[in-house]
């Protein structure tokens, strides 16, 4: 990366010049494109395929003050085996929890292929000193998290201090060690698509492995047009640098229909290279049960009531 765009992040001025030199996003046009793709009709075999892929892309999430070891254990079991009644149902991509819960989940997921993601860096606001954010990250990694979902410093971003945002991401990336870093932009607070595009590039320049829309604690969370703009950013970043970065919409994606719309968006914006849990994830909690319900209906021809799917 640094070999291709070495000068960009060398100073606040060059970083600003680069980010403000990216092509603008026309709001009406971007929303219109996302709305058109949402009309795609995904049926029968295509729907079955998409639902299984979506299940494999879920970062099954609980991020509540009321989370307990019991709750986390239940969710870990569900992550490994979402549908106890059907062996053919794939596992989800990861379990996503607070750092304090990582020691509980780590032994349960070790060796299962389900990743353990922990939010860090004073999630969800990011309003803490950098040293606290780094300790937060290091503790989660030490306890067994192999994916870190950090939040960017939106205060610094909106104040135009791009260099500071960049340095913080670089530092957190350092604290991650071998763990994958997902950088949450909190697009609901960035407000404009131009900001979303700039923040996406900023995060990728700083070393993000994934860029993620939202914490889920701010409305609006993930939307199709925001995800479209982020997908365009990872596409353009790869053609500029050769490095592929993943995308994770999170928050507000509740139904299979929603999830399939996102997969269509991925398919027609960046193509099949991103249609894998390695490069695209859904941050969600209630989505999984709807995917399971639709999956069962596709296989059996009828809907089972919600009581046939586990509530964890």
């Amino acid at each position: 990366m640094t070999a291709v765009l070495p000068e960009v992040s060398s100073s606040g001025t060059s970083l600003r010049a680069f980010l403000h030199g990216l092509p603008g996003v026309d709001q009406v046009g971007a929303e219109q494109r996302a709305a058109m793709l949402a009309t795609r009709s995904i049926k029968t075999t295509a729907k079955e395929w998409a639902i299984d892929l979506a299940i494999r892309m879920v970062d099954l999430t609980t991020l509540e003050g009321s989370d307990t070891p019991g709750k986390v254990r239940a969710l870990a079991a569900k992550a490994k085996r979402p549908d106890p009644a059907d062996d053919s149902c794939p596992a989800v991509a990861a379990l996503c929890i607070y750092p304090a819960m990582v020691p509980v989940a780590a032994p349960l997921l070790a060796g299962t292929g389900v990743h353990l993601a922990s939010v860090a860096t004073a999630f969800p606001s990011g309003q803490a000193p950098l040293s606290v954010k780094l300790d937060d990250t290091a503790a989660a990694v030490a306890a067994g998290a192999d994916e870190i979902d950090m939040v960017i410093n939106r205060g610094a971003f909106l104040a135009g201090r791009y260099q500071q945002v960049h340095e913080e991401i670089v530092a957190v990336k350092g604290a991650c060690g071998a763990a994958h870093l997902k950088v949450i932009l909190e697009t609901g607070e960035l407000a404009t698509y131009d900001n979303v595009r700039r923040a996406s590039w900023l995060a990728m320049l700083a070393g993000a492995d994934f860029i993620k829309t939202s914490t889920g604690k701010v409305q609006p969370a993930a939307t199709l047009p925001v995800t479209l703009v982020m997908l365009e950013a990872v596409r353009d970043f790869r053609s500029a640098t050769g490095r592929q970065v993943g995308v994770k919409p999170a928050g507000g994606i509740r139904t299979s229909k929603d999830a399939i719309r996102y997969l269509v968006l991925v398919n027609e914006t960046v193509g099949t290279d991103w249609l894998s849990p390695d490069w695209f994830r859904f941050g969600a909690s209630t989505l999984l049960n709807d995917l399971l319900m639709q999956r069962t209906r596709m296989r059996t021809g009828h809907y089972s009531g919600p009581d046939y799917f586990t509530l964890d």
Partner: protein, 474 residues
């Protein structure tokens, strides 16, 4: 690979009759001499129905039915005419799925477009002009606006129902009666509209629909009982009509061809500009008079824009018009396909570089892959003549002045597009473009409240909006 399974819209909602008569004076009647022609589905060449071919005496009957109905229709209070027009709008909405499927069958356009664009806009035009019917005194057309009389309306095959709405809605709102002739390759939705007129209890003779080819159209516009001629179609036929009505009392509006420039500046929102380029030329298979068929790209961003455009074009889904995921449907007729092929071959032989994404076309029916030509100059025929198909000519420019000069260097002047994030540039360029519609950071956007029409050989008169009433008020 994410392969979308077929998602065809059901045909069962449409009940196509084996044959259709002429809609004259409120009921369907056989043509005097019994001649008929067939209308086919351009996607499969399947015969959909037999349609009556109106001869001279049929045209006479239709015009006199409209003449007889005129005095009573014109004398109705505006609010009463509005009631009928609102009713037509509502029935179009109620029968929207049927109309969309039928339009896609008869025309070849994708169901996504007929469902999301053609039919909703047709209903919107009736709603919009229904609102004017009792407010004509306030339209700025004088203190006591009066209808013109009997309107002869001849419409094209590219947006059959929508062009019908553009013609009939303002005519009825103004108190005129009409005889409308749909294009010979796409008569079916107009004939369903005739049924809708019956369903709405529209007084007999207010709307008459006669089917036939060019000879029927010529007979209609030349008929001495006609007071007003409205035509949308080719510039060539437009010229014939202008000659035919010269020296008569008839008022004329013509909406003809175009060769619109879509201008992309280096500070454009590139991703959306690429969408706009695609929508500008591939919407409705490029069968759009205001299509953005000449892309003018600033040379400094040419490589990036072209790469993005090709990448995007590779995503276009060409095929069954009734599949809900189809982006590009069938070419409307064998004759039109032949014209597109001929002009494309001329493009290649004149030295432009032709490119299409890999795409497999169905064996039956009329198909043409989305195509771009690069290395095109102002001297190429494909940069000057209207192709009316999914074929884009790409040219470059260096400065805003050069962009304007090239954009205006055409006998046409129907529409244009400007792509830049700089608001002041949009206004400055739009001021200099000799085109009836200038879209900024979008393309092919239509609204009933917005007037539409051309400069130069793209025609005269405006349709849509308050301006559209003027053509139907004496």
């Amino acid at each position: 690979m994410f392969e979308y399974a077929p998602a065809p819209e059901s045909r069962s909602i449409v009940d196509i009759k084996p044959s259709y008569g002429l809609f004259v004076n409120g009921s369907f009647a056989e043509p005097t001499d019994g001649s008929t022609f067939k209308t086919i589905s351009p996607a499969s060449e399947e015969v959909l129905a037999e349609v009556a071919e109106a001869g001279p005496s049929d045209v006479d009957r239709a015009v006199s039915a409209a003449r007889d109905a005129f005095d009573r229709w014109a004398a109705l209070p505006g609010a009463t005419r509005a009631k009928y027009i609102y009713r037509l709008a509502r029935i179009i909405q109620e029968r929207s799925r049927e109309l969309a499927v039928l339009e896609s069958l008869d025309n070849g356009k994708p169901i996504r477009e007929s469902r999301d664009v053609d039919v909703p806009l047709a209903a919107a035009h009736f709603f919009y002009y229904a609102g004017w019917a009792d407010k004509l005194e306030h339209a700025g057309l004088g203190p006591s606006p009066r209808p013109i009389g009997v309107a002869a309306q001849v419409i094209p095959w590219n947006f059959p129902l929508l062009m019908l709405a553009w013609k009939i809605a303002p005519a009825l709102a103004g108190g005129n009666t009409v005889v409308l002739k749909p294009a010979e390759t796409t008569p079916l939705t107009a004939l369903v509209f005739a049924e809708i007129c019956q369903q709405a209890d529209l007084p007999p003779g207010v709307v008459n629909i006669i089917t036939g080819a060019g000879a029927t159209g010529a007979r209609l516009v030349e008929h001495p009982g006609v007071d007003k001629v409205a035509f949308t179609g080719s510039t060539e036929v437009g010229r014939q009509i202008a000659r035919a009505v010269a020296g008569t009392r008839k008022r004329v509006t013509l909406e003809l061809g175009g060769k619109a420039a879509n201008i992309v500046f280096d500070d454009a929102p590139i991703d959306q500009a690429v969408e706009g380029i695609v929508n500008g030329i591939f919407f409705n298979q490029g069968h759009v008079c205001c299509a953005g068929s000449r892309l003018l790209v600033q040379e400094s961003v040419y490589d990036g824009v072209l790469a993005a455009l090709k990448r995007r074009m590779a995503q276009l889904r060409v095929g069954d018009p009734l599949d809900k995921n189809t982006d590009i449907g069938a070419i409307n007729s064998a004759a039109q396909l032949e014209r597109i092929r001929t002009l494309s071959e001329i493009g290649s032989s004149e030295g432009a570089e032709r490119w299409s994404p890999p795409c497999s076309l169905p064996d039956r029916g009329f198909w043409f892959a989305p195509t771009i030509f690069t290395g095109v100059t102002q001297a190429h025929r494909i940069a000057r003549e209207e192709i009316f198909g999914p074929v884009l000519s790409v040219l470059t420019f260096r400065t805003p002045a050069e962009a304007v000069e090239k954009a205006n260097n055409t006998p046409y002047g129907l529409s244009a597009g400007v792509w830049t994030e700089k608001g002041s540039r949009i206004l400055a360029i739009a001021d200099q473009l000799r085109a009836g519609v200038v879209w900024a950071n979008t393309f092919n956007k239509f609204d009933p409240s917005s007037p539409f029409g051309g400069y130069k050989e793209s025609g005269y008169g405006r349709e849509g909006g308050r301006h559209g009433l003027e053509a139907y008020i004496g």
